[in-house]
């Protein structure tokens, strides 16, 4: 019973936390875009425009909810839910901190330490595309269906290098559990570098981050919603809170992907060269590990924004060419080299 309550608290906590990040991210994206493009951005609602997401939320909730006359009603309603649910549930296996000791009881800062958490992530990552395709199909709009089809093609192409990059990580750490991968990244590598995945798998990291951008449908891979080509892609026909769910799901997705990058490649909650556990108390260590983890996550979230306002969108054939002709061979090469290195060192 006690364990159940603790798990419930963890679930609610991380859920609210991720929601909060997604909300703040809408502000960060708009302000960041503005700053990069030499304009102030939303700065009227609250200090620095920080209450802007709240105003957006009120707007989206109170807007008229329109379902197009010839849309498939059930699927139309299902689309945004299918999109945002996997994004939320992927956090179940991501460790967001080490552990916290309360009253002699050790609490792992992770909702569920599944020993195949890795597979769970990969499976859920590809689920999100159903939301896009279903939404695009149900809208009964040529732009929507084009967006949906593009999303499918893109996901199929980039799931492979994504998986290959992750597979190399599994080879290095020899486990499917995200917590064990995180724990293995403590200390130093080759004596000078922090023992982070990115130094063991530099090519793997590049493959992963590129594929992650494609999976999240972010610029430069935002073909499913390419405004200049297909209006707004899969969510052309959506309005009010359904659109809000799509947009929100995207930010939660970004948050998940950033957390994965940190977990696999940037030493999860470990600080380089410093072992926090050696001088912090059990409770403060738990909180510090959580904060360090989200500091790293926030960097990658910012990177998403930064790249978005730097790079123009790829052409469709360029996206496919990059996926099939560059990333997949590189992924295979990376996997081969990793396997070779491990075989030789053991």
């Amino acid at each position: 019973m006690n364990d159940l309550i603790i798990t419930l608290i963890k679930v609610v906590f991380i859920w609210v936390w991720v929601l909060l990040i997604a909300v703040v991210m809408t502000w960060v994206e708009r302000r960041g875009a503005a700053m990069i493009q030499d304009r102030p951005g939303p700065n009227r609602a609250g200090p620095f425009g920080l209450l802007q997401p709240l105003a957006d939320g009120i707007k989206l909730f109170t807007k008229e909810d329109i379902i197009p006359a010839k849309a498939k009603k059930l699927l139309f309603i299902l689309g945004p839910i299918l999109f945002s649910l996997p994004a939320f549930s992927a956090y179940a296996v991501v460790p967001f901190g080490d552990k916290i000791v309360l009253g002699g009881k050790e609490i792992i800062l992770q909702v569920a330490d599944v020993n195949v958490g890795f597979l769970y992530i990969v499976a859920l990552g590809s689920m999100a595309v159903y939301g896009i395709v279903v939404g695009g199909w149900a809208s009964n709009n040529k732009y929507s269906i084009l967006g949906g089809l593009r999303a499918t093609a893109q996901l199929i192409s980039y799931e492979v290098p994504w998986g290959l990059a992750l597979l190399a990580i599994v080879l290095v750490y020899g486990t499917f559990s995200l917590r064990e991968i995180s724990l293995a990244q403590q200390g130093t590598f080759l004596g000078i570098l922090p023992n982070w995945g990115v130094f063991k798998q530099p090519l793997g990291f590049i493959l992963f981050i590129v594929a992650a951008y494609a999976e999240a449908n972010r610029v430069p891979f935002d073909l499913p919603e390419a405004e200049s080509e297909i209006v707004s892609g899969y969510h052309t026909e959506y309005g009010s809170m359904r659109l809000g769910l799509y947009l929100f799901g995207e930010y939660v997705n970004l948050c998940t992907l950033s957390a994965l990058m940190v977990t696999f490649f940037f030493g999860a909650w470990h600080l380089p060269y410093i072992d926090m556990a050696s001088f912090l108390g059990p409770i403060s260590y738990g909180i510090a590990s959580f904060l360090v983890f989200f500091l790293k996550v926030s960097f990658f979230l910012w990177l998403f924004v930064w790249v978005r306002w730097t790079v123009p969108r790829f052409r469709y054939d360029q996206v496919m060419g990059l996926g099939w002709k560059a990333l997949i061979p590189l992924g295979l090469l990376n996997l081969f080299l990793t396997a070779l290195a491990i075989q030789l060192t053991i």
Binding site: G32, A34, M35, I36, Q37, D38, R39, P40, N43, I206, W306, V307, W309, T310, V311
Partner: protein
């Protein structure tokens, strides 16, 4: 002949794309840092390309044509004599002037012997061309610096005399009154003014051509002041 297509040969560093991407991100980072620093400065206008409108306004041109003002002279008397020249030339037909003799005991309020009993400008119709100002023989009507003319109720856009006078007082208080406009030179007017006959015939025809030189004469000494 169509231009021959020149295929751009990319260098290897460009083909890899990553390095070029990082260069681009350096550029956006520079902009980002500049603007973040700028947005923390206390002045209202820190980001050079953006005016934060109600607090931070662009300067208007010296001959800006905004809301109309009915001018008062140095002794505080209304210059308008209610001749209706402004209404006559108005291309949008938005000015209504009602002429009346100055009632007894109120001579101190008006500069002329007649005055405008009512003077209404329909801002919904007005195109702010400034012809009324150019055409006014007494320099009694001017377009002022005020440009926030949007209203919720159409009736409020019918500017009556009190509003026009209030505009004048406001502009005077803020020191935004500009000297009267130089008369627009008319092509061929110099040649015609030498001969008496055409000028006389114009006088007979109506006030309009005659009024212009008058206004010019009136305006010039003031501009010199």
């Amino acid at each position: 002949m169509a231009k021959p297509v020149v295929e751009k040969r990319y260098k290897l560093s460009e083909q890899v794309y990553l390095w070029e991407l990082i260069k681009g991100m350096g550029l956006t980072w520079k902009h980002f840092i500049f603007n973040v620093k700028a947005s923390f400065r206390p002045e209202p206008h820190t980001i050079p390309t953006c005016w934060q409108y109600p607090e931070d306004r662009r300067p208007i041109a010296p001959n800006f044509r905004g809301a109309h003002m009915l001018m008062l002279d140095e002794e505080g008397r209304e210059k308008c004599v209610g001749c209706g020249m402004c209404a006559k030339i108005c291309p949008a037909n938005c000015i209504t002037v009602e002429n009346a003799k100055v009632p007894e005991g109120e001579e101190g309020k008006y500069a002329g012997k007649t005055y405008s009993k009512t003077f209404t400008i329909d801002w919904l119709r007005c195109i702010f061309c400034g012809f009324c100002e150019e055409n006014c023989p007494k320099g009694a009507l001017m377009l002022g610096p005020e440009y926030e003319l949007a209203r919720y109720i159409p009736e409020e856009c019918m500017a009556d005399k009190s509003m026009l006078l209030a505009n004048f007082h406001k502009a005077k208080q803020e020191g935004k009154l500009r000297p009267p406009r130089e008369p627009v030179p008319v092509v061929g007017a110099a040649a015609k003014s030498g001969e008496e006959k055409p000028a006389a015939s114009a006088d007979e025809k109506g006030e309009k051509p005659a009024a212009k030189p008058k206004a010019a004469v009136k305006a010039k000494p003031k501009a010199a002041k």
